[in-house]
């Protein structure tokens, strides 16, 4: 008995289950890769393998060559496996071996590329096209491979946009049927006829026989049109070519496998396959004279590729068509609902929608739900449909619950239509060693594989949290972005980390891909990092890698990249590269003891770098533009901090001497001059008097106001305290501001905002109070004198309150003017 189904069709699944019970087969054969046969046994009632999951077949030596077979709770194939295992029946996949299939499509692609590069030599290069074929990225292969298995379904969902040109029947069998039945939309036709059909007891097999007959007729029609040459006139596209090559092979393989089962003495075979294939697998064809010989010959000598298979967790989101999955369905959540609901699904669905709306703080009363049910019924009968479909229900929700406003619907769309559901795979299913190791560790660290994104706050002083941080950092090195590190809001706390956690199914593949690097997480991430470090040519990137190794606590790579760094540091002449490396190295040396890193090696490297920086810094500061100066300012500040806390203090001394010279040098960029003055003043290398002299010099009338402004940016960034606590500095700034012309002031305003904006509110208020107290008397005195001018004040007030500190200065300034 052949059961033609639609992949991920809940109606198909329900009918199939009933039909199987009625038919009582002695073996179940399913359209799927035979390599995965050993994995079928995990599909059992009560198993920890919980859909949505996918069968993954991947090339052992190159995991990027892979193919998925996703299954949901309501996939007919899944029900069939479940049934077979429940009854203890043998169950097999009978499709063309995926090892042949992958090898064939690879071969085809290579041929295509060869052909393209050939034409490229002759004519215009079609570069874009070629790229598409050349780089089979995982994401590309993913829907591709699937669309091969399921093109009959894919075309279902694609029907709408191809109204004027009728696609070949084999791409759209249901569409052809639907048009014949007078439905415009094949989706609606199938939904109404098959998926939402309430099966009467006793004749579950009937629908499958009917479907088989319908498909037979369709295939005959297609054959006819092919013979008439309809198809030959059209230029075959790439996909068609692959179809033409592989599709017949698949059916041949299925037939061969069925013959095999018969040979083994099975009498009642249940064959579960895509409806389109059903007519090719009938007994007449299988037992046709000479057919077996032809079939066997066709399968001989196909190319092969070594494959591994495993179960991986999947999500409803990736089952949906919107994710780019070729055989996807528009609303997995809806299908799941239909499948799991006894009786009419409308009311429970509306209740669910209402509860989601309430969770979003939107009005959704029971009375409205009742109205929605009635509207759904009315719409269904008006449209003369046997059952309400998803669109009728959605329209009722829109009219009754949402007052016609479609926005809230999009809020609940994902939860309702797709359903955030992640499948589960028990740990004892053979995966790659790396996957298993990662799962073991995640369990140990209590990090759950969840599709929902959530935030994990880590306190690195706790051993468990530290381990978690290492774990997530290691995964990131392997391009498995399970955790995404968030920028810390509180700058000062270095022992806090925030991670955004979200497990996506493609990460399973990324992990399998990464297994070329090693068998455990530490080994793999360490090897991958070292590989990148050896290959990289830039010292800066090397330091970044070193930092990564440090964050992931990978001893081997820390040591290795340290060694590389010391070799490279001699060759590097770019001071800014060296400067960005210095803080990283200093922190390695500080924690070096904990991590048993060769302390001497680090020390000598730090010393080497520090000396090189100090010697070359001055030359590197010549003629910088503003942006370069700004990044240099940051680097100087970082290096100063690093060397200040470094155990050997001779370097910081040398640095301060250098900075002292720089602060007074007029040709140095004002940003850097301001910053160095600040650093020196903070370190008590300049006393108040000296610092003020430099400040006055930089803010004197002779310097352009732009120069002065930038000097202040350098000096005042992160430095509110000096304005609050030091009266003399405040006055210098104050009088400089007052000396500015209005236009000049407006020009500088953005810059001043940038400097003072990040000050804390308390600091701003402090400065403002100080400013007001200084000038109150002045303002009052002038008040009487010039009322007219004061009218301007509220406007300025608004502008200046953004600045906080300068409010009062400008008031007096304006009044005076």
């Amino acid at each position: 008995m052949i059961f033609g189904i639609r992949h991920h069709g809940p109606g198909s699944a329900a009918s199939l289950e009933k039909a199987l019970r009625e038919f009582e087969p002695d073996i179940v054969l399913i359209e799927g890769p035979p390599e995965a046969n050993p994995l079928i046994k995990y599909v059992a009632p009560g198993s920890e393998l919980i859909p949505p999951v996918a069968l993954l077949a991947y090339a052992g030596d190159d995991a990027r060559q892979a193919c998925y077979y996703p299954f949901a709770e309501f996939s007919p194939e899944w029900r069939a496996m479940l049934y077979a295992n429940e009854k203890g029946l043998p169950c097999r996949f009978i499709d063309l071996a995926q090892s042949n299939w992958l090898a064939l499509s690879k071969q085809l692609k290579e041929e295509k590329i060869a052909a393209l590069s050939q034409t490229e030599l002759n004519s215009d290069p079609n570069a874009e096209n070629r790229e598409n074929l050349e780089a089979p990225e995982v994401s590309d292969i993913l829907p591709d491979a699937e669309s091969e298995t399921d093109n009959e379904d894919e075309s279902l969902t694609k029907l709408d946009d191809s109204k004027d040109k009728t696609p070949p029947i084999h791409r759209d069998p249901i569409g052809t049927l639907a048009r014949a039945a007078g439905y415009e939309d094949s989706e609606v036709f199938w939904e109404q006829l098959i998926e939402q059909r309430k099966q009467k007891e006793g004749n579950a097999c009937g629908i499958f026989s009917a479907l088989l007959e319908a498909m037979k007729a369709l295939r005959a029609q297609e054959l006819e049109s092919k013979e008439n040459g309809d198809l030959n006139q059209k230029k075959l596209d790439y996909e068609d070519e692959e179809d033409n090559l592989i599709e017949p092979l698949r059916e041949i393989a299925m037939r061969q496998n069925i013959r095999q089962a018969k040979k083994e003495g099975f009498k009642k075979l249940a064959i579960v396959c895509g409806a389109w294939h059903a007519p090719a697998l009938t007994d007449e064809i299988i037992e046709g004279k000479g057919q077996a010989k032809i079939d066997a010959a066709a399968l001989k000598g196909l190319p092969k590729q070594k494959l591994e298979t495993t179960w991986i967790p999947w999500t409803n989101g990736r089952l949906s068509f919107a994710s780019g999955y070729g055989a996807g369905i528009t609303a997995p959540g809806w299908y799941e609902h239909i499948f799991s609901t006894e009786g009419d699904p409308t009311l429970p669905w509306l209740v669910k929608a209402a509860s989601f709306l309430r969770a979003e703080d939107l009005d959704a009363s029971s009375a409205q739900v009742i109205d929605a049910v009635r509207l759904t019924e009315a719409l269904t009968s008006l449209r003369e449909l046997p059952h309400p479909g998803l669109s009728e229900i959605n329209e009722a929700i829109l009219a009754c619950l949402l007052g016609g406003n479609p926005l809230p619907l999009s809020l609940i769309q994902n939860k309702l239509l797709i359903g955030e559901k992640l499948g589960q795979v028990p740990p004892d299913i053979p995966g790659t060693p790396l996957t298993n190791d990662t799962l073991r560790q995640s369990q140990k660290l209590r990090i759950k594989q969840e599709a929902l994104s959530k935030t994990l706050e880590l306190d690195l002083r706790k051993p468990l949290d530290l381990e978690r941080s290492y774990f997530l950092n290691r995964l990131n090195i392997l391009n498995v972005a399970w955790g995404e590190k968030q920028k810390n809001r509180i700058k000062t706390s270095t022992f806090h980390e925030n991670w955004k956690l979200e497990w996506r199914p493609e990460m399973s593949l990324a992990l399998i891909e990464a297994s070329i690097w090693g068998k455990t997480l530490i080994e793999a991430s360490s090897n991958k990092l070292m590989d990148a470090a050896t290959k990289c040519t830039s010292f800066k990137i090397l330091v970044v890698l070193l930092g990564q190794a440090l964050e992931a606590n990978l001893e081997e790579s820390i040591k290795g990249s340290m060694r590389l760094a010391s070799e490279r540091s001699n060759a590097s002449l770019d001071v800014s590269e060296l400067m960005s490396a210095l803080p990283v190295l200093v922190s390695i040396s500080r924690y070096g003891n904990v991590r048993e890193i060769d302390a001497e090696l680090v020390k000598s490297l730090v010393g080497h770098l520090a000396e090189k920086v100090i010697i070359n810094l001055e030359a590197a500061l010549v003629s910088l533009d503003d942006d370069a100066a700004r990044s240099m300012m940051r680097l100087i500040s970082d290096c100063e901090e690093a060397l200040r806390i470094y155990e050997e203090d001779r370097y910081i001394g040398e640095l301060y001497t250098l900075l002292g010279r720089l602060a007074r040098k007029p040709s140095i960029h004002p940003l850097i001059s301001g910053k160095t003055t600040k650093l020196l003043f903070d370190a008590r290398r300049l006393n108040e008097e000296e610092a003020r002299t430099i400040m006055q010099f930089s803010l004197s009338k002779a310097s352009s106001h732009a120069y002065s402004g930038m000097w202040l940016e350098g000096f005042l960034t992160d430095n509110a305290q000096v304005l609050i606590h030091d009266h003399t500095f405040f006055q210098v700034v104050d009088s400089w501001l007052q000396s500015l012309e209005t236009e000049q002031f407006q020009e500088l305003l953005p810059l001043l905002r940038k400097v003072m904006g990040p000050y804390s509110i308390a600091e701003k208020r402090n400065i403002q109070e100080r400013a007001l107290s200084q000038t109150n008397w002045q303002a009052k005195e002038e008040e009487a004198a010039s009322d007219n001018d004061l009218l301007l004040l509220p406007v300025l007030d608004k502008v200046l309150s953004l600045l906080g500190a300068n409010l009062a200065d400008r008031q007096t300034d304006e009044v005076q003017a």
């Binding site: 409205q368 109205d371 719409l379 329209e395 009219a399 009754c400 949402l402």
Partner: protein, 360 residues
């Protein structure tokens, strides 16, 4: 008294179509409906009957939207048609009432001055004083009439009615009864009674509906026409129909003129040229399809009475300026900008450019 009417009610104007429809309509009708929901759909969306009779489409646009509206009326829920001005809300409501009850006259016009009496009932004071309170002294509102007769009542511009008056609708809509405490009695609605309200939620001077009232309506939003072809179709049909009714002496407008007017309206409404290449400022008015229709009619009248009968750019220019410039300062700037950046560049639009330019 057989002066010709300026505008016929829908049920009279399209009497032939309604009769033809109900003669072939064999499907089940809800209580007191003049035709089945299927026939109502055909009446609104147009179609060919089995006997070859052609029904003209009244609403051009998404069929599903109208299906929701009709399905709502088959339940006892009231229907609220929401949308920007000129999206055919009133038009749809009138035709729905005409098709369902054969009577589109039970109408309450919502204004800021609409009182409770016009929704419930008033009194004939002479009789009230002479005879005391009685049913005979009571002056029923259109709503009350509809309840008694099991017909469709219409409320135009529901959101313009003051909130306290809106509240009187709640009991009517939920309990389908209208109490008359003065007489110690009540009017109970007969099967077939329903309410179609139209409202505009984004205009000036509207009162938001309370959520209690909102919940008693199924809301259907009528969108602006989705494509330029759809809108051209609407304008063409309506201009023709109105030209006939107003007996304008001009020729039928050429499709090119309609296309250009609709294009101007769509571009200014959406704030971008049709090819999506140029960003435009939108004027303060709503630039609705209804206004485009009146621009066409205006142009027809001008060309018929003062021109040579053939519709030309200068006949349309005044109408376009009038539709765009609602705020004399801002909107004329918008129009000028549009003229200079878009219209001027289009080679075959020179006549438009000249005649509009001339008026500004």
């Amino acid at each position: 008294m057989d002066a010709q009417l300026l505008r016929e009610h829908a049920e009279n104007q399209y009497k032939e179509e309604l009769d033809a429809l109900s003669s072939v309509d064999k499907k089940q009708r809800p209580p007191r409906w003049k035709m089945s929901p299927w026939a109502v759909m055909t009446y609104l969306m147009g179609g060919k009957l089995e006997n070859g009779f052609e029904i003209s489409p009244k609403y051009i646009g998404n069929r599903r939207t109208i299906e929701i509206a009709v399905a709502t009326l088959t339940t006892d829920r009231a229907l609220l048609l929401l949308g920007l001005p000129g999206t055919a809300k009133t038009w749809v409501a009138e035709h729905l009432a005409a098709a369902i009850s054969g009577d589109s006259t039970l109408l309450i016009q919502g204004t800021a001055g609409t009182s409770e009496e016009s929704v419930r009932y008033g009194w004939n004071y002479a009789r009230l004083l002479a005879e005391g309170p009685s049913m005979q002294a009571l002056v029923p509102s259109p709503m009350m009439e509809a309840m008694k007769a099991g017909k469709t009542a219409r409320i135009e511009e529901l959101t313009r009615i003051p909130a306290d008056v809106q509240d009187t609708l709640i009991t009517i809509l939920s309990e389908k009864t209208l109490p008359v405490p003065e007489l110690g009695t009540e009017i109970q609605a007969v099967k077939g009674f329903n309410v179609i309200a139209t409202a505009n939620d984004r205009d000036k001077g509207v009162n938001d509906l309370s959520s209690a009232l909102k919940r008693r309506f199924n809301t259907v939003i009528l969108p602006v026409p989705a494509t330029i072809e759809e809108e051209i179709d609407i304008v063409t049909r309506r201009t023709e129909a109105m030209g006939k009714a107003l007996e304008l002496p001009a020729e039928k407008p050429a499709i090119e003129e309609i296309t250009r007017v609709v294009q101007i309206f769509r571009e200014l409404r959406s704030g971008a040229t049709l090819d999506g290449k140029t960003k435009l400022r939108s004027p303060s008015g709503s630039m609705s399809t209804a206004e485009a229709i009146s621009v066409m009619n205006n142009g027809l009248a001008l060309s018929g009475h003062f021109g040579d009968g053939a519709l030309k750019a200068e006949d349309l220019a005044a109408g376009i300026v009038g539709a765009v410039v609602k705020d004399p300062v801002q909107d004329s700037l918008v129009l000028k900008e549009y003229l200079e950046t878009v219209v001027k560049e289009r080679d075959d639009w020179k006549d438009f450019y000249r005649s509009i330019r001339h008026l500004l």
